[in-house]
Symmetry: C2
Subunit: 245 residues, 2 copies
DNA sequence: CGTTAACTTGAATTTTGTCAATGCCTGTGG
DNA sequence: CCACAGGCATTGACAAAATTCAAGTTAACG
């Protein structure tokens, strides 16, 4: 069953998501039968600590995935856009709160129903597996960003990711979240994010279009500043793994 | 198939790992048939960028999962202990290098073989799913740590995790990795880690036993300093999610 | 028992955070 | 359609946390 999934190229799941509205027996058809729910900006979809007995598919808009420490410090571990799933890592309790950043439409399905369907459909399992791999890869990237990147690199990485997600080079990037959201996602403060955005604009790397719009004027510069030059295939000192015995 | 897995309590997978040496038709029996390979401390098991066509099970010792940025900055995204799997998030290329911290014994299995077995065995799929959920939960925690915790909280969280992993309260914790490894895992410098460890020892919270041994003298203090007081069920302002329509 | 890498400790520096004031979108209501 | 309000964002000055650089120590290994 996993076979088809496992042989996909590393980022293929992204494509998979893009075309998810069409295919026959996977996630799309499963969620397609569910009622669409709507949330106003700021509305909470699930609370940290609640029973985690649902899986969600975002149909429209953007969610923020938030964890709050006891003293109020806030961490955003991710944003969920149209086509993204939430609640895959099924546990008894929600480890985070999910809030609507923009107006959001989504579908939900109960854990039981979801697992029954997964039991039955190899296609669904394959998609599910691909999504989980994708999510783990994203988490990996985020740990690198938070662990070792400078404030500037973090902001540039973020802009780059958003651009890739929206896929149209040269077009305007829509950043629906506030500066505080960006800061809590990047492990910075609002002020630092703001300063860096201003500086990037002053240098002509980006151009601000109101508060939530950005046009990337110098994609190469942005990529260089993001410290993502060659992360994935850096130097030449790489060898095959040794197989002892 | 996922049914049994999905109804496990949030952290049950940890228990699952502990007993993994026994059960009938899951991961253990799959890897049990493979040859055991040995690695010296410092040896590389897989290189970042290599083909990712293997899944590994650590039998003995500790691995560090390392990502290196082009300019040499190093991030450790995790440590793999006995019983842990590596390479679950199958992609075309390894997103990280895995190195032996201590002497390591492990078993490996080819991706193809692994997926065939997963196709066949519901038990294996359930375990696999549980492991992936566990890994995602750990990644989530790490993003919180790296995103918003102070240096002291990071070190204390780390000590606490290590203690939980080794499970015996009051007993000595073995920290096989170097201070640099800890620093690269916690998003700090070696010096900062060292200073904090010294300070904790001076305050009597922990007691150093050589370079790689630590006894926790005041577990409650350590937990408080780790900022993990109630993360998961903080304040009282929590309500059920609203179901519009 | 000596060597050496790993660790500790201290002082200076840097980055980022904090606090506070100002400015500017955006959406509401006149 | 325009004015206004209020949240959101920017900007500046200062403070703090952590890093960097530079010696010293020490533990672990042969």
């Amino acid at each position: 069953m996993f076979a088809d999934t496992l042989s996909l190229p590393a980022r293929a799941a992204t494509t998979l998501r893009a075309t998810a509205a069409v295919p026959p027996e996977g996630l799309a058809s499963l969620f397609g039968r569910q009622v669409v729910e709507s949330f106003e900006p700021g509305a909470v979809v699930v609370w940290q600590g609640d029973a985690a007995d649902q899986v969600f598919e975002v149909t429209e808009g953007v969610l923020r995935i938030v964890t709050v420490l006891s003293d109020g410090r806030r961490v955003i571990t991710g944003f969920a856009h149209a086509g993204d799933l939430m609640g895959l890592a099924l546990r008894n309790r929600q480890p985070y709160t999910a809030e609507a950043v923009t107006a959001v439409k989504l579908r939900r399905i109960g854990r039981r129903r979801f697992q029954d369907e997964a039991d039955r459909s190899p296609e669904l399992r394959a998609e599910l597996f691909a999504r989980m791999c994708e999510e783990m890869a994203a988490a990996q990237d985020q740990m690198v960003l938070l662990g070792r990147k400078t404030a500037e690199e973090r902001v540039c990485s973020f802009l780059l990711r958003m651009q890739r997600r929206l896929a149209r080079a040269g077009a305007m990037i829509e950043l629906p979240m506030t500066r505080v959201d960006m800061a809590d996602y990047l492990g910075l403060t609002m002020e630092t994010v703001s300063r860096i955005m201003t500086r990037l604009a002053a240098r002509g790397v980006i151009e601000a279009r109101g508060r939530h719009g950005v046009v990337v004027r110098q994609p190469e510069t942005l990529a260089a500043l993001a410290g993502e030059s060659d992360e994935d295939e850096a130097d030449g000192c790489r060898h095959r793994a040794v197989w002892p015995q």
